[in-house]
């Protein structure tokens, strides 16, 4: 496996600057060589190093089984790492777990709600668990119910909520104790497009609030692209590449040409690599993908070259590159949206 590549956009902050100037003090999450082995055969997280600066939205993007939930579980003190270490807000997740717990809010991948309770009771119980005084709880509940638009349903049992409403309530619960770091594990899993949009709207509003850093996981590349300031692409328990979505996508060229075909691709790929306008060539299991300066301009030329090299094209398309293409480039596999 290649070492993770760091990229940063020229427009935004420089990653190295943050690292050096602040000497990690401004980082909310630091993981060093984090490993989780569930059993002899299952190595869920395989040596992850990440540094997440304060006040940004960070996305862990990866396919099913990549190790996203395991990462979150370790960072939120739910499970202990097998090796390596991690700090959240400067506190070690194992030795200072209680300090970490005081500062984080979490929503889990599965719906976890006591369905016999009403929405209001769920939030109130959560606040009590953290020792919030009554007046504080009451104010916070009113504020959060308004944020996630559940005021009308607040006194109904959660069992009667729709999936989207439950998710929104969970988000409110995660925010109940005014966390400094919020972890959302696949917050839009299983939601219809409309609910997905509204969840991200709330999060976007929150982002405007000062002092909240956010780490979320997803296997929807558009979510990572649109919501995150930085993305870490994770596969088989390793971060394969990390950077701002802009920078990650930019390195793929202006346009992506995707080719599905048959025959010996070797000569064809070699030809392509030699072309001046081709910035990247990625050969996946069934696709060849080119990053080029202009898709529409180069399409005809690519088709001609394929014929010359004896490669039969079944399908060819031009698109703006996405994080999915980045994923393909670094793993050789497609990141399938569910």
């Amino acid at each position: 496996m290649p070492a993770p590549t760091l990229l940063y956009s020229s427009a935004g902050f420089s990653y190295d600057d943050i690292m050096n100037e602040n000497n990690h003090s401004e980082s909310v999450i630091i993981a060093e060589g984090l490993v989780k082995r569930y059993s002899k055969d299952v190595l869920a997280v395989d040596g992850v190093d990440i540094v997440i600066p304060a006040n940004i939205v960070y996305a862990l993007l990866g396919p099913n089984g990549a190790g996203k939930t395991t990462m979150i579980s370790m960072l939120t003190t739910l499970i202990e790492p097998t090796a390596g270490s991690a700090r959240v807000k400067g506190f070690d997740v194992v030795r200072r777990a209680d300090e970490v717990r005081k500062r984080i809010g979490v929503t889990f991948q599965e719906m976890i709600l006591d369905e016999e309770l009403t929405g209001r009771q769920v939030l109130d119980f959560h606040g009590r668990l953290y020792g919030q005084p009554k007046a504080k709880r009451r104010a916070k509940i009113a504020e959060l119910l308004a944020l996630v638009e559940l005021e009308d349903a607040a006194d109904r049992r959660c069992a009667t909520y729709s999936g989207g409403m439950k998710r929104r309530l969970e988000l409110a619960r995660g925010l109940m104790t005014e966390p400094e770091v919020l972890f959302l594990d696949e917050p839009t899993l299983g939601l219809d497009p409309q609910n997905r949009v509204s969840i991200w709207e709330y999060v976007r509003n929150l982002k405007a609030d000062l002092g909240l850093s956010l780490l979320f996981t997803t296997h929807y590349m558009e979510e990572a692209e649109q919501m995150a300031d930085r993305v870490g692409i994770i596969d088989h328990g390793r971060i394969v590449v990390e950077g701002s979505p802009r920078a990650l996508v930019d390195q793929m060229g202006e346009d992506t040409i995707r080719i599905l075909g048959r025959g010996d691709s070797r000569a064809f790929v070699e030809t392509l690599q030699a072309l001046p306008f081709v910035e990247t060539v990625v050969e996946g299991e069934s696709v060849i993908q080119l990053g080029v300066d202009s898709g529409s301009k180069r399409l005809a030329e690519v088709v001609t070259l394929a014929n010359t090299d004896g490669f039969t094209i079944d399908d060819i398309s031009v698109a703006k590159p996405s994080l999915g293409d980045v994923f393909l480039k670094y793993t050789g596999r497609q990141l399938r949206d569910k």
Binding site: T77, R101, K102, E110, I112, D114, E116, R128, L129, G131
Partner: protein, 259 residues
């Protein structure tokens, strides 16, 4: 402690939301007393050569112990389902002591047991058991019930922390349940038991809670135990030790599953 009370409070809230469960908690002990009392007192009472009222006083503590067992088993199911549903994760990422999660659950169980014990006393008294007039005895009785409830709650919570489905849990609990009831003085006086069962009964905390209740809560309850009674001090010591051991076991098992 605050967290334990919060979790206890949540369980009590749920109980309020489910009147049917509360009614069940009420009806079940009444049924035990009535069925056991009416059905068995002629049979066993005559065999023991004691009067019917006296038999009630003899029997009621055993029913209390049995009901406390039932409450603990049900409480274990609550805990198991919170684990299986993942609700436990909400507790685990909160800044609270691991032990307080279990203590909260045990408190709910103990509350229900004590509540049921009070009902059983009342029904037993209505059916003719002569209740002691010493309130300190009642208090002592409730302390014993609470301690016994906590001990068995610990066993149930340990079982529920280890099992990954409800069937396995019931199998595990079943293994404790029957001997705790039958290998005791709950149904027969100690001296009526065969030798090997008497030894088992003397090792069983149930015998101590039952005997303590007979002595403290009922008039002439002590004589009814068949002449030989366990010392009251010993009853408290054994029940306290049982409570600590039970909760300790639950904590050990739970801690392992969290890793």
């Amino acid at each position: 402690m605050r967290a334990a009370i919060t979790i206890w409070h949540k369980h009590m809230t749920k109980l309020r939301l489910h009147p049917e469960e509360a009614v069940g908690l009420l009806i079940q002990p009444i049924m035990w007393v009535v069925l056991f009392g009416v059905g068995m007192r002629g049979l066993i009472g005559q065999g023991m050569g004691i009067e019917e009222e006296a038999y009630m006083a003899f029997m009621v503590p055993g029913i209390i112990a049995l009901t406390a067992l039932g409450a603990a088993i049900a409480g274990g199911v609550v805990w198991l389902s919170e684990r299986l549903q993942g609700i436990v994760k909400e507790y685990l990422v909160a800044p609270i002591a691991r032990l307080s999660i279990l203590v909260g659950n045990a408190m709910s169980i103990v509350t229900k047991s004590v509540f049921q014990a009070v009902i059983i006393f009342i029904v037993g008294a209505l059916m003719g058991a002569q209740v002691s007039l010493n309130p300190l005895g009642w208090l002592g009785g409730l302390v014993l019930v609470a301690g016994y409830g906590a001990g068995f709650a610990g066993i149930a919570l340990a079982g529920a922390s280890k099992s990954n489905d409800i069937g396995a849990y019931h199998m595990l609990i079943f293994l404790f349940n029957l001997p705790l009831l039958f290998l005791s003085n709950a149904l027969y006086p100690l001296e009526m038991l065969p030798r090997w069962m008497e030894i088992g009964a003397r090792l069983n905390p149930t015998s101590y809670v039952v005997d303590g209740l007979r002595q403290m809560v009922f008039e002439n309850g002590a004589e009814l135990a068949g002449g030989e009674t366990l010392s009251l001090g010993l009853c408290f010591v054994v029940v306290a030790a049982f409570a600590v051991l039970g909760m300790g076991a639950a904590y050990m098992v739970f801690r392992k599953t969290v890793q």
